[in-house]
């Protein structure tokens, strides 16, 4: 697509439920990032994919969080047994290349998650 697409744009769920957030990066972008932005805060790094592999998962806050990427394209971030502190905007970004290349990140509009 023309830009990074994320869905859903808004998700309201009850505490304890599982949620899946989807990111469709720009075609041809091999690098994909997930960030979390709590209300009025900066960007918290979650995970990075180069192709289908995730060299760095250190940002995932707990084992309730997982992510996968298939076909070097679409990525899904899954949060199990959601907690209220998981409420935030989850941002996905993609870029050309990977290691040793530092082009700009292109961001999606984010998925706003509200856990009641």
């Amino acid at each position: 697509g023309a830009g990074v697409s994320q869905s859903p744009s808004n998700k309201v769920t009850e505490k304890g439920k599982d949620v899946e957030l989807r990111c469709d990066p720009i075609s041809g972008h091999t690098a994909l990032y997930w960030y979390r932005q709590s209300l009025g805060q900066g960007l918290e790094f979650l995970i990075y994919f180069q192709g289908n592999s995730a060299p760095d998962k250190s940002g995932l806050p707990s084992d309730r969080f997982s992510a996968e990427r298939t076909g070097g394209s679409v990525s899904t971030l899954t949060i199990q047994r959601t907690q209220q502190e998981d409420s935030a905007v989850y941002l996905c970004a993609s870029s050309l290349g990977g290691s040793l290349y530092t082009g700009e990140l292109f961001f999606g509009e984010g998925s706003r998650l509200t856990v009641l």
Partner: protein, 116 residues
């Protein structure tokens, strides 16, 4: 360790005033990249500029200008004759190329309010 500091949490100016957003970074690497992103109220981060560590030339793009000074580890952003549409949160970011991962370090952001 890599770090980006944006000490100004929020700035308010009146339209047509000039405003400078400060960004100070920390890294021991000699090759790195600096970025500025704009996040308008709609939420999507928009890339503004990318600068590598070997290019200290200042850059001007319309009403926007950037001052990169390695001696003070700063990459400040000035908006001349600000407009209401400039109201947004602005993020400075640092990236250091790696062999398996390009991690982006974001500052906490500066919220700019431009009043008519």
């Amino acid at each position: 360790a890599q770090k980006v500091t944006q000490a100004q949490t929020e700035i308010s100016v009146v339209e047509k005033e000039d405003v400078t957003l400060d960004c100070v970074y920390e890294t021991r690497d000699t090759t790195y990249y600096l970025f500025w992103y704009k996040q308008p109220p709609s939420g999507e981060l928009v890339f503004l500029i990318r600068r590598n560590s070997f290019d200290e030339q200042n850059e001007i793009s319309g009403r926007y200008s950037w001052n990169f000074q390695k001696s003070t580890s700063s990459f400040n952003f000035t908006i001349t004759a600000s407009q209401v549409v400039d109201s947004a949160v602005y993020f400075c970011a640092l990236s250091v190329p790696g062999y398996n991962f390009n991690k982006f370090y974001f500052g906490s952001g500066t919220k700019l309010n431009v009043k008519p």
